[in-house]
């Protein structure tokens, strides 16, 4: 498998986890925040579907989804749900960032669009959670 296909397969596993994580996030939120969580989950689902189609038609292997994922901390209230939403977007952005240097053309454009979208969404979640600073200079870059 090419480096690009490997990176996209890794991004797909991140999308699986993000979709799963928005379940416990959404139930702890309400109103506009719950709506935002549903929209975020839909966006991750759309990227998952596109990746599955791309990898399967391109001859690459499609990693399977898991039945469940370990949460980094218990999600018991709105504050922890918002913190998890921030982490979900940051971590998923990191996978798309890793796909950038090994992809070209339309794949690279899609990876960049995903990175920017998730970085912006992470900022919105940070604002909702009252986390400072709101932004990070290089979203997805390993520290």
């Amino acid at each position: 498998m090419s480096e690009s296909a490997e990176a996209l397969a890794a991004a797909l596993t991140a999308e699986y986890a993000a979709i799963w994580a928005y379940g416990p996030v959404g139930v702890r939120l309400s109103g506009a925040e719950r709506k935002a969580a549903a929209e975020a989950e839909a966006a991750h689902r759309a990227r998952r579907d596109a990746l599955v189609v791309q990898l399967s038609t391109g001859g690459g292997s499609v990693p399977p989804d898991r039945a469940g994922y370990a949460l980094p901390f218990p999600v018991t209230d709105r504050a922890s749900a918002l913190r998890l939403a921030v982490q979900v977007e940051e971590r998923t952005a990191a996978f798309w960032r890793a796909a950038l240097p090994v992809s070209t053309g339309a794949d690279r454009d899609r990876a960049l669009a995903a990175l920017v979208e998730y970085a912006v969404r992470a900022t919105r979640w940070r604002r909702s959670a009252g986390i400072a600073p709101l932004t990070v200079p290089f979203p997805g870059r390993p520290s």
């Binding site: 454009d109 669009a113 920017v116 600073p133 709101l134 932004t135 200079p137 290089f138």
Partner: protein, 158 residues
């Protein structure tokens, strides 16, 4: 120049390949001679000796300028509206971090001084708080769109 080979007039089928090749060869030779004769004096007087083209600007240079301008605009707005400083200064620091990184990549680190609080790119920021935020928001969106636009590729160096 006089063609000494026979020239077939009104013939639709090739009957004499030797003469055809010979005529073509003569035409080619004539063209080469004409080109050579014309080019020789030109090269002699140096008209074809072009200087090395000036180095092209780095494709990331506009992004570097934009990052610096955004940072400067944010710092200027934070100075004009201190109550917004807590929101704006982290954004300015992010843009400055971008500018530093781009400058490191492009070798332009010492070419331009870092932006200062008084170096607003578009003059004095609006005095109205909401107008300031609206202007900054527009600048940020424009910068984001410019950042995700594919950068032109640098032509390979000869």
């Amino acid at each position: 120049m006089v063609l000494t080979c026979p020239v077939a007039m009104g013939r639709t089928t090739r009957q004499d390949d030797a003469s055809e090749l010979s005529r073509r060869g003569l035409l080619r030779a004539g063209a080469l001679l004409a080109l050579g004769g014309a080019a020789a004096p030109l090269t002699g007087c140096g008209l074809l000796d072009r200087d090395e083209p000036p180095p092209l600007p780095d494709p990331l240079a506009p992004l570097l300028d934009e990052s610096r301008q955004l940072a400067a605009g944010l710092r200027a707005a934070a100075t004009a509206h201190p109550d917004l400083a807590a929101r704006l200064l982290p954004l300015a620091e992010s843009h400055e971090a971008h500018a530093t990184e781009i400058a490191r990549l492009t070798g332009a680190a010492t070419a331009t001084a870092p932006p200062t609080a008084t170096a607003a790119p578009s003059g004095t920021p609006p005095t109205d708080r909401s107008a300031t935020l609206a202007a900054l928001r527009r600048s940020e969106r424009a910068g984001r769109e410019a950042a995700i636009r594919p950068a032109p590729r640098r032509p390979p160096s000869a």
